[in-house]
């Protein structure tokens, strides 16, 4: 019997491999595809799809409808109705988790995942990842911020020091635009002093926990740096093209390059962010570096899905990224590439992209971040601005932040009331809670455990020791496979042999 089964399985394997191998030739055909791209990229994307149709080796013809949908809005629009959404869509990386949870992204197969890993910069690869799986193709790695300045106000030698910049702005009666009441920007001060804030996700895009040290001695240094700028009268909470309305320094990204170049003309200056000084020591302001991704919507027709993945790989490949990186007046978009080969290309470097890559030395690749964090972290600046700048007040602001993020993972009542088994059970050593299910007052472990004589454990409630049975550890007498059973009313723990 076993032999027969083995033969059958081997046969099935060969068959499935056969279909796999011939898949590429089966991709030939015409596909109606909707692509969501930001307005500015619609024309370029249309011509890139035409180039794909003309040159691909699989015989794929894509009849593309390119709709202008901003990458900032993609998730909101997709989640409205995934089935009616775009088949391929540009989106900003912070939407990854939401899109995975909504079932709007196809998990990449091994080949596609390797394509992403091999061709793109480390930060952008990380952005396309949830758990150990990849869900999207990096399009750019330019979603970061740096500093534009007016050379007629700011002398060249002052651009490395935040204090000097602020003094120059104050002296000239000009503003310093830095959108610090936005977590994306104010986190730069904390990264600059070496703090970190990492959210941990599982393979399904769910957030499990956070590892964050903003509320620390290092964090206090960052808070002092923040205070030194937000307490100045020249500070403006903005990342717009404010040179026309009285700013001499604006911290923003590549998307405003063309406008600012036009605004400042000969006085155009661009550089990485400055350093701030606390207690005689200099800290270079850090930043987030992020990227735009290209997502493929799950398809009912697997062949179409495979064809879309080929198109996505072309659109995010070296050729297309280089085209996008060209200056806007040469038919490009000025988008900084994530593709390693395109990054080397001298055609992909306008002054803004150069400043961005200099700033990237101090940047943290933006990981998956819980949606609530942005609102929690932006309050740090508001609180610091309202404070008197004393250490106590700054620490209070950080403490408030810390409490707020801790509350995100506060347990639900269900978890608080549930009993779990903890001990030297199933290869664990008092470090994992094994779930139990209730039937009235009687709780039974979800699995039967192989236990040796001398195995010890307890059943505890809410993953805490306030309520735990029995009072002394339960010790197993005879080896065997048992379910653990607890009568919560009496507190009696027993073993039920598994059949």
């Amino acid at each position: 019997m076993k032999k027969f089964l083995a033969i059958l399985m081997a046969l099935a394997m060969v068959l499935s491999m056969g279909t796999f191998a011939s898949a590429s030739s089966e991709l030939a055909g015409e596909y109606d595809v909707t692509i969501w791209a930001p307005d500015a990229a619609v024309a370029l994307t249309t011509s890139q799809v035409e180039a794909f149709n003309a040159n691909n080796e699989f015989g794929i013809t894509i009849n593309a409808t390119v709709e202008p949908v901003s990458e900032a809005d993609a998730a909101t629009n997709m989640i409205t109705d995934v089935s009616a959404g775009g088949d391929l869509y540009f989106f900003a990386q912070d939407q990854l988790s939401r899109l995975i949870q909504a079932g709007a992204l196809t998990k990449l197969g091994q080949g596609a995942a390797a394509f992403v890993k091999d061709n793109n910069s480390a930060g952008s690869t990380l952005a396309a990842q949830s758990g150990s799986d990849y869900y999207a193709y990096p399009l750019t790695a330019d979603n970061g911020y740096f500093m534009y300045y007016d050379k007629s106000v700011i002398p060249e030698e002052d651009i490395d020091s935040l204090e000097k910049l602020v003094a120059d702005c104050e002296a000239a009666g000009k503003n310093f635009s830095f959108e610090l009441e936005n977590a994306w920007y104010n986190a730069g001060f904390f990264f600059g002093v070496g703090c970190h804030s990492d959210w941990i996700t599982d393979n399904d895009g769910n957030f499990i926990s956070i590892d964050d040290d903003f509320n620390s001695e290092k964090g206090l240094i960052a808070a002092k740096g923040l205070y030194s700028i937000v307490s100045s009268p020249c500070y403006v909470n903005s990342s717009n093209t404010d040179f026309a309305s009285g700013s001499a320094v604006v911290v923003t990204g590549t998307w405003n390059y063309a406008t600012i170049l036009e605004q400042l003309g000969d006085n155009f200056g661009v550089a990485d962010l400055p350093s701030f000084t606390v207690d005689g020591q200099e800290y270079h302001i850090g930043s987030y570096s992020g990227c735009k991704l290209l997502g493929v919507k799950p398809q009912e027709d697997a062949v179409k899905g495979a064809a879309l993945n080929q198109l996505a790989q072309y659109l995010t490949g070296q050729e297309c990224q280089t085209q996008r990186a060209a200056d806007p007046d040469q038919g490009g978009l000025g988008w900084g590439p994530s593709n390693k080969a395109a990054l080397e290309d001298p055609a992909c470097s306008n002054p803004a992209l150069v400043a961005l890559s200099e700033q990237n030395a101090y940047a943290i690749p933006q990981p998956n971040i819980h949606g609530s964090w942005w609102d929690i972290a932006k309050v740090i600046t508001t609180d610091i601005k309202a404070s008197d700048g004393s250490d106590e007040a700054l620490m209070a602001a950080l403490q408030k932040y810390d409490d707020s993020i801790a509350a995100v993972f506060e347990m639900t009542d269900e978890v608080r009331n549930a009993f779990t088994v903890i001990g030297t059970v199933a290869g664990t050593n008092w470090d994992a809670d094994l779930p139990m299910t209730a039937d009235g007052d009687v709780w039974t472990s979800n699995e039967a455990f192989e236990m040796e004589a001398g195995t010890e454990f307890k059943c505890r409630q809410g993953k805490a020791w306030d309520v735990a049975y029995p009072a002394d550890n339960f010790v197993v007498d005879a080896a065997g496979t048992y379910y653990v059973q607890l009568d919560a009313a009496s507190g009696e723990v027993s073993l039920v042999p598994a059949e």
């Binding site: 930001p38 717009n240 309305s245 998307w255």
Partner: protein, 286 residues
């Protein structure tokens, strides 16, 4: 003594009048400023981003030309079709409904009126998701959003009968009876007797029916999501306000705002003398 007191009153009058006018002028300036601002910005051609001054340094029509060359035309036509069709259909349905409830006596009249009153108390947004599903199954979303939005706007319009029913109730029934005696049908009574006497309320119904879809954003965005061909002006213009677009599109956006205001302004100017009468008309007798 008398003379003096008289003078005092006149001065007092003048002072109070002056201060009232000053206050009203200030309020109207504050109120009008955004409109003036938008209009001026729409003629600014030296740059396309937000600036710190109001008066353009270079005047021109480039922004309006940009509008003409963008999808705005399509959005404008969409909005106009939706608003016009809704205005016609809603007016007909609502007036028929009001006439029926005002003049006919039938068994379920009372319960029906109460039922509609209660239904009307639920915020319309509650039904958004289920309406979306229905429209999507009918194929009336995204590129076909225009008929979908008309359908949604018109479908529940009968429930807005209160104001015009109140107005019809004030027209003496003896007029109907006289017409009926002369051989008019119910429909003729409505068209030839009631409606000519109810001009203000008809105008009011048309105006409100037109204005609703004209400024609709939430539902229009939900139904037409991600498909430029189905957008109305509000949704389409909002798509120009994203971070990556606003520096390029800001003055064009202002020009769009001016164009959107044009038909509404014309409509109001033509119909405003009826409007005030209409708004309060139904309130005389419930």
């Amino acid at each position: 003594m008398n003379e003096k007191r008289h003078m005092g009153l006149r001065t007092l009058n003048r002072v109070s009048n002056t201060s009232i006018y000053v206050i009203l002028t200030i309020i109207s300036v504050i109120w009008l400023l955004p409109f003036v601002f938008i209009t001026l910005q729409s003629f600014r051609v030296e740059s396309t981003y937000q600036v710190g001054y109001v008066i353009p340094k270079q005047w021109g029509l480039q922004n309006y030309i940009n509008l003409w060359n963008s999808d705005f035309k399509r959005w404008y036509i969409n909005t106009f079709i939706i608003a016009l069709a809704s205005a016609v259909l809603i007016t007909i349905i609502q007036l028929c409904m009001s006439y029926t409830l005002s003049r006919f006596r039938f068994k379920m009249r009372g319960p029906l009126m109460r039922f509609m009153l209660i239904l009307g108390m639920f915020p319309g947004m509650l039904t958004m998701i289920i309406l979306y599903r229905v429209l999507s199954d009918l194929g009336l979303t995204q590129a076909n959003a225009v008929p979908g939005l008309i359908l949604v706007g018109v479908a529940s319009s009968g429930m807005g009968y209160y104001v015009s029913k109140g107005f019809f109730d004030t027209i003496p029934k003896s007029l109907d009876e006289a017409a009926r005696v002369d051989g008019a049908t119910r429909f003729q009574v409505l068209c030839k007797i009631i409606l000519p006497l109810s001009k203000p309320i008809v105008i009011y119904t048309i105006l409100t029916a037109f204005m609703g879809p004209w400024g609709d954003f939430v539902f229009a965005r939900y139904v037409a999501f991600g498909t430029s061909a189905g957008y109305n002006v509000a949704v389409g213009m909002y798509s120009w306000l994203t971070n990556d677009q606003i520096a390029r599109m800001y003055t064009t956006f202002c020009a769009g705002g001016v164009i959107v205001a044009v038909p509404v302004t014309i409509l109001f100017l033509c119909l405003q003398k009826y409007y005030v009468e209409g708004v309060t008309g139904g309130a005389v007798k419930g």
